[in-house]
């Protein structure tokens, strides 16, 4: 179990008055990018925060890189990097100071790698963080996590406020990190186009529950948007979600698209992750 997964979660429950997170099983394969998608309020951040023991949970067995927080909190913190959409470093500090002052708390902080990445991404070691653009803040946070050789990077909306150019640069950073076989990324976002590119697996959360985890290939192979002229074939109907009437005919998400072929009256097109979110479970 340990060598296959960067993280395993079993029977996780976080119960609030108005919301319940109930995760039976969620496993993040090592060496790949796991995308986590869902509407605002679906439970993505609650899942991540409870997984990292930032908020308490009612129940749940959680293993990160084969370790648990109860016995190995320090080692876990050394080996993971967590970045969300808030910048956590003091505005008056700069990259040089933070590298020296905070880097030393990590067993594996790599000063050379740190400087190399900052240089590559045009970040001035001496510039005060308060003068950083949002894009620079996001890149810096991720670079800091990479520089201490984190094996598991947890990103919660890291590109939320970024322009397309900055988002592209963050993606490049992540692709570079993934050149190493033993790095794992959990990437939670509502900007699904980023995941259309880099995500190897997609997990959809809805109302505090996981709807599915699928590989990118199974997703593209099995789930497509179908447009039907005339009657919906009865054998296809049980596999359709979000059926809508449009001027073209009927459109829906088909969850077994690999079993059908295009015909004169039935046309399939690839579903984006956004399509999945929009059509899923609407019957």
């Amino acid at each position: 179990m340990n060598s296959e997964y960067a993280c395993t979660i079993h029977d996780l429950r976080v119960i609030y008055d108005h919301f319940r997170l109930m995760i039976h099983d969620f496993n993040i394969p090592k060496g790949y990018v796991m995308g986590l998608v869902g509407k605002n309020g679906a439970g993505k951040s609650t899942l991540i925060r409870s997984m990292l023991e930032i908020i308490p949970r009612n129940t749940g067995d959680i293993n990160i890189l084969g370790l648990n927080f109860k016995d190995n909190a320090m080692e876990i913190k050394n080996r993971i990097g967590y970045v969300n959409d808030t910048f956590v470093f003091p505005p008056d500090a700069n990259a040089r100071k933070i590298g020296k002052q905070i880097g030393q708390f990590y067993n594996h902080f790599d000063e050379a790698l740190y400087r190399q990445l900052l240089l590559k991404h045009d970040i001035d070691l001496n510039q005060s963080f308060k003068h950083f653009s949002k894009g620079m803040c996001a890149k810096y946070s991720i670079i800091f996590a990479i520089a201490h050789h984190a094996d598991f990077l947890i990103l919660d909306e890291p590109t939320a406020n970024l322009d397309p150019v900055a988002r592209r640069e963050v993606l490049d950073l992540l692709y570079d990190l993934m050149q190493e076989e033993d790095k794992t990324i959990l990437f939670s976002t509502h900007i699904t186009s980023d995941l259309d590119q880099i995500a190897d697996y997609i997990t959809l959360i809805q109302d505090g529950k996981i709807e599915f985890t699928l590989s990118k290939d199974d997703l593209q192979n099995m789930h497509q948007i179908v447009t039907i002229e005339g009657e919906i074939p009865s054998d296809m109907k049980p596999h359709l979600m979000g059926i809508k009437s449009t001027y073209e005919g009927t459109t829906a998400l088909c969850t077994k698209a690999n079993e059908y072929k295009n015909t004169d009256k039935i046309r399939f097109r690839k579903a984006s992750i956004e399509d999945l979110m929009v059509y899923w479970n609407i019957r």
Binding site: M178, Q179, D200, K216, D217, N262, R267
Partner: protein
Amino acid sequence: MKFHIDAASDIPNYLQLEHQIKTACLQRKLKPGDQLPSIRALAKELSIAIITIKRAYDDLQAEGIIELRQGKGCFIKEIKTSRLSQQNQILLNNKITELIHYAKDIGCTDEEITNALLDAAHKSKEDSHEL
């Protein structure tokens, strides 16, 4: 050897890559012994998922078209041209079906489609003779 994945295409990404590698083999742009990029490097270059490249490479390895040499990389194996021709026939049929749907959508008759195909084939033969 440059590959191009069309994210907007209806064909799953991993299949597009497999088709392109097989076609390159048939066209002798890739020859036995040639090395393919590593899975992770190619994912970055094409801006697609690592698992997609892995799926394509795994499928091609199962078909005997490429081989993974431990510690060295991915290489094109000896290619049995008859098997690849079969694949190409399927690809061609898929493309033709797409084309016919498109032509019907814009209102062409069967005769117009056939004539257009023959004209285009004829012209392409002329072009290649001129070269």
